[in-house]
């Protein structure tokens, strides 16, 4: 059965969502993943948006931004940005999705600048709510195109903290987050156009969990800026089912985000 890389990424993202979870939903692919999870294996999950919205069902129309009018219509809470991010700060949010321009071996994300801090070669838009989600959600899932210049040994700027870096006080990983004073969390999955990575909280390192059908460990390595470490059960990514693809295509009939 035919499907696009982005459709597979939506499926992989949806698999991160467990039933009854509260999910901080971003735009584009994660939003479709929320719709898929709701209609497939997680019918009781709830979606939150930093614009100030809580939904128990995807909006009636495809969204270009989280503040689009259809996303407020029939929502279950329309409130302030502080109130919804505050829920995450107080530990109420299970999973958050974010993207980024660059990610490194330890799941640290950069959406601020490329190059020198004082004289960047590229100025990126910035954190938005990304750094908050990376700091405060119980689990973090990252979605990115898989390109060697994006998956780097070390990012130029840590906008959204992952598992940090080894330092004089100890290793990267959950212990680094604790040293910084972060209350919880850390990346649990990196979903790309070629593969899915999980992370080892003890060392903070990304582990290749699965490579997408048609790709290979060698191709993933060729497009990744750090020497791969494989998860013990590393294997090919389970492809989408026909039912999953039907739901995705119903949510994005013109393929705005998935083609």
């Amino acid at each position: 059965m035919e499907y696009t890389a982005r459709e597979l990424m939506v499926v992989c993202a949806a698999r991160q969502i467990r039933d009854y979870e509260r999910v901080f939903v971003g735009m584009r692919l994660p939003l479709l993943a929320f719709a898929l999870a709701r209609r497939a294996h997680a019918p009781h999950c709830a979606g939150l948006f930093e614009s100030g919205t809580l939904r128990d069902a995807p909006s009636a129309e495809l969204l270009y931004t989280m503040s689009d009018a259809p996303n407020i219509t029939d929502s279950l809470w329309a409130t302030s940005t502080l109130n919804v991010i505050g829920l995450m700060a107080s530990g109420e949010i299970d999973l958050g999705f974010i993207g980024g321009a660059e990610i490194d071996h330890y799941g640290n994300l950069n959406t601020t600048l490329i190059g020198d801090w004082e004289h960047p070669t590229v100025r990126l838009p910035g954190s938005g709510g990304g750094a908050d989600i990376a700091s405060l959600a119980r689990r973090l899932a990252i979605i990115m195109p898989h390109e060697r210049h994006r998956l780097r040994e070390r990012v130029d700027f840590v906008t959204s903290p992952g598992y940090g870096y080894p330092d004089a006080k100890g290793p990267a990983g959950s212990s680094w987050r604790a040293r910084q004073g972060l209350p919880r969390g850390g990346p649990s999955a990196l979903i790309t156009t070629l593969a899915v990575f999980t992370f080892d909280p003890a060392t903070g390192e990304a582990l290749l969990q699965s490579y997408h059908p048609g790709s290979s460990i060698a191709e993933v390595q060729a497009n990744t800026g750090w020497p791969l470490r494989l998860a013990p059960d590393c294997a090919a990514t389970v492809p989408p089912t026909a039912a999953e693809l039907d739901i995705i295509r119903a949510s994005d009939p013109h393929g705005v985000w998935t083609r």
Binding site: M27, E50, S51, G52, T53, A60, Y64, T65, M66, S67, D68, A69, I72, T73, D74, A78, T79, S80, T81, L82, I85, G86, A89, T112, L113, W117, H119, P120, T121, V122, R123, L124, P125, G126, S127, G128, G129, G130, A131, D132, A134, S135, L136, F157, V158, T159, S160, P161, G164, W176, R177, Q180, G181, L182, P183
Partner: protein, 313 residues
């Protein structure tokens, strides 16, 4: 001494041109674009550009091309923001040129997250000097923004990030409706709009409709803040286009795409600016240029009315 309503005896209702001339001065710290991608006062930003404001500080979470336009026009010295770009398209070309090459002028960014910019405005609204948070610990953002302070909590010595209060000189809010005294109704996503209104020294309201005082008083829970902070009320239907206004019109996604494409080069930006801002005297002319058919296509067609609520006694 604080400003009083009596400065406004002459009435707060005025044109956009008057409101910007009176309450947005060169060098002002302006909170605008506060409900994230909705209710963005684009008409107010265009008037600031037409009046050639200089050295502004722009304050807001994610400004969705409004900041990019003001930066491209050379009006801005500093942004205090979580995100500057074009939400449905990606990067903001003017923001890149200003940050990377000081074109048309240099720009200082005090980087925030959506949470910290909200906390900074809330702190000012509460008269608190700062609010501590655990967000952004381990991020490089506090190293790029010297106003954010890493400290230890006096309660248990754990690390905290202190977010200092930000008090805008003026907050510009787009609302669905208000009366001539500045009593307003705001609904849908509010982002950090209420925090900014309560934090700011002055407030300008841009409204889709002017309604009777009694309409507002019929539902005081919908009011974002007190009328006495409002210095100017501008009746500007369509003033948020291309952003959405819940219950009035939807986001014009194509307009954001066209802006993204047109502004890749400084020349392209200038052409766009001449066409959509400098070339039109006001929002009425702008909407006429947009065209009745396109404007009507954005209007709300699926009406959904709130269930009745009784404030009686």
């Amino acid at each position: 001494m604080q400003k009083h309503g009596n400065e406004n005896c002459m009435g707060k209702l005025m044109t956009m041109s008057e409101a910007i001339a009176r309450y947005v001065s060169d060098g002002a710290a302006v909170a605008i674009g506060l409900a994230l991608e909705a209710l963005i006062p684009h008409a107010a930003a265009h008037e600031m550009i037409r009046q050639r404001r200089q050295n502004l500080t722009l304050i807001g979470p994610i400004s969705d091309i409004l900041f990019d336009q003001l930066i491209g026009a050379g009006c801005v010295a500093k942004v205090q923001a979580a995100w500057v770009g074009n939400v449905s398209e990606g990067l903001g070309h003017c923001y890149r040129r200003a940050s990377e090459r000081a074109l048309p002028r240099s720009l200082i960014t005090e980087a925030h997250s959506n949470f910290t910019i909200g906390l900074a405005l809330f702190a000012a609204a509460m008269g608190s000097p700062y609010i501590p948070t655990r967000s952004l610990l381990g991020s490089d953002i506090p190293r790029l923004n010297p106003t954010l302070r890493l400290e230890s909590s006096p309660l248990d010595d754990s690390p905290v990030l202190l977010v200092p209060a930000i008090q805008p000189d003026v907050a510009i809010l787009h609302v669905q409706r208000c009366d001539e005294e500045g009593n307003a109704h705001l609904w849908g996503n509010t982002g950090v709009a209420q925090e900014a209104m309560l934090a700011a020294r002055d407030v300008i309201l841009i409204t889709e409709e002017i309604v009777a005082h009694q309409v507002i008083a019929s539902d005081p829970n919908r009011v974002p803040g007190p009328f006495f902070k409002v210095r100017a009320v501008v009746h500007e239907p369509g003033g948020a286009h291309p952003a959405a206004v819940q219950g009035y019109y939807n986001r014009d996604h194509a307009f954001y795409h066209a802006y993204h494409t047109a502004t890749r080069t400084p020349e392209g930006y200038q052409t766009w600016l001449d066409e959509w801002v400098l070339g039109v005297p006001d929002r009425t002319a702008y909407l006429a240029k947009l065209g009745e058919e396109r404007w009507q296509s954005l209007r709300v067609t699926e009406h959904r009315y709130a269930a009745a609520v009784d404030y009686g006694y």
